[in-house]
């Protein structure tokens, strides 16, 4: 049975699409048939982050409206086996996303895929609500910053009250925290909320900490999910996150201050 996972946050720009791209790529690398769906109708970007923007012909809304079938709209990733992308429509209105339409497509995808990753748009409007409605699990992407944490808390409230699982009284959506853009040195200095602070406020289990990293922008420039950038800190953090999601018990990395030489620490500079 396929698992539907929504990547959500409420606030924009915190790393939802980056996380969706790397998470889906990671699942596929580990042998699971994975599809990642862009729910951001009108502002699609997952295709750019995945590097397949020039291969988009049909989109999610075309399939909902029976203007194309799923196989025509699904883009097969050229680097990773078992990985497919379903792009959002760039031209349609987000009202085109209906509960029935989304359900129909998810049911069809469930026949062939192990994991369906739904990349939510920012906000709490239709696209965001549709992306989380059918979710079994949720990755809540949060930055250690006041507005992001508050918005994440709102999203947790919506997952607990407006998802299909909540409406039908089934087991609740399983929530995972992804703390992105974390800078251990700033947290140490008291200039940034610590991991512990965010966990205390949101009260959901931590799946992964992604360090603030130059690799994220560089890989998006190239259209390569950062998890494929071997040797990068953010890429390694996403790889750990995927393994943890699949049940491995791994310690969190990149959460300590990078060690500096004694003299450099003593005399500053840095």
């Amino acid at each position: 049975m396929a698992t539907v996972i929504v990547v959500t946050s409420g606030k924009g720009g915190v790393g939802k699409t980056t996380t969706s791209a790397s998470f889906a790529t990671g699942l596929a690398l580990r042998g699971y048939r994975t599809v990642v769906i862009d729910f951001d109708v009108g502002l699609r970007n997952l295709d750019l982050i995945m590097g397949c923007e020039r291969r988009v012909v049909y989109d999610f809304i075309n399939v909902i409206n029976n203007e194309a079938n799923l196989n025509q709209a699904l883009i097969r990733d050229k680097r990773v086996e078992n990985l497919y992308i379903l792009p959002a429509s760039q031209t349609r209105d987000k009202d085109a996303l209906t509960k029935e339409g989304v359900e129909k497509i998810l049911n069809e995808l469930k026949q062939t895929f192990d994991y369906i990753v739904c990349d939510s748009p920012a906000g709490i409007e239709r696209g965001a609500l549709m992306s989380l409605y059918y979710a079994d699990e949720a990755l809540v992407v949060t930055n250690p910053e006041v507005s992001s944490v508050r918005d994440s808390d709102r999203i947790l409230g919506i997952l607990a009250s407006r998802s299909q699982r909540a409406e039908q009284g089934d087991a609740p959506v399983k929530e995972h925290l992804v703390l992105a853009r974390y800078a251990p040195d700033r947290a140490y200095r008291g200039d940034m909320l610590t991991i512990q602070d965010v966990l205390e406020i949101l009260g959901i289990p931590l799946l992964g900490v992604i360090p603030e990293s130059q690799a994220v922008l560089q890989s998006s420039n190239a259209g390569v999910p950062v998890i494929l950038e071997e040797g990068s800190d953010a890429g390694a953090a996403y790889a750990d996150l995927v393994d943890r999601f699949l049940g491995k018990d791994l310690p969190h990395r990149f959460i300590e201050i990078p060690k500096k030489g004694f003299l450099k620490r003593l005399f500053g500079g840095g």
Binding site: R150, D153, S161, L193, D197, R265
Partner: protein, 96 residues
């Protein structure tokens, strides 16, 4: 930075901006959860409406005089109803 930084005993004095951020967040999040999150079951508005109707059979009150509050403390949930009855003098005579 530098020398003093290295010997600073506690990494998190309570006056840092991060400590302030945490405090503000705890307050606003607790407040907002009170009205929506996990706290508020779906049936609450309906319960409030029915309760209002029952009380109205005996005392004339309106919507704004009923306050419903759900609190969580540890493992307990406390559902609190607060109904403000009008003053004795202002109460219209009960209909027969």
């Amino acid at each position: 930075m530098g020398l003093f930084d290295y010997f600073r005993p506690s990494p998190r004095p309570t006056t840092t901006t991060a400590a302030l951020a945490k405090e503000r967040l705890q307050i606003i999040v607790a407040h907002e959860r009170g009205s929506s999150r996990r706290g508020s079951p779906e049936y609450l508005p309906a319960l409030k409406k029915e309760l209002l109707e029952v009380v109205r059979k005996y005392v004339p009150i309106d919507q704004s005089q009923v306050k419903v509050h759900l609190d969580r403390e540890g493992g307990f949930e406390v559902l609190e109803f607060n109904i403000t009855l009008p003053d004795e003098d202002h109460r219209p005579p009960a209909s027969p």
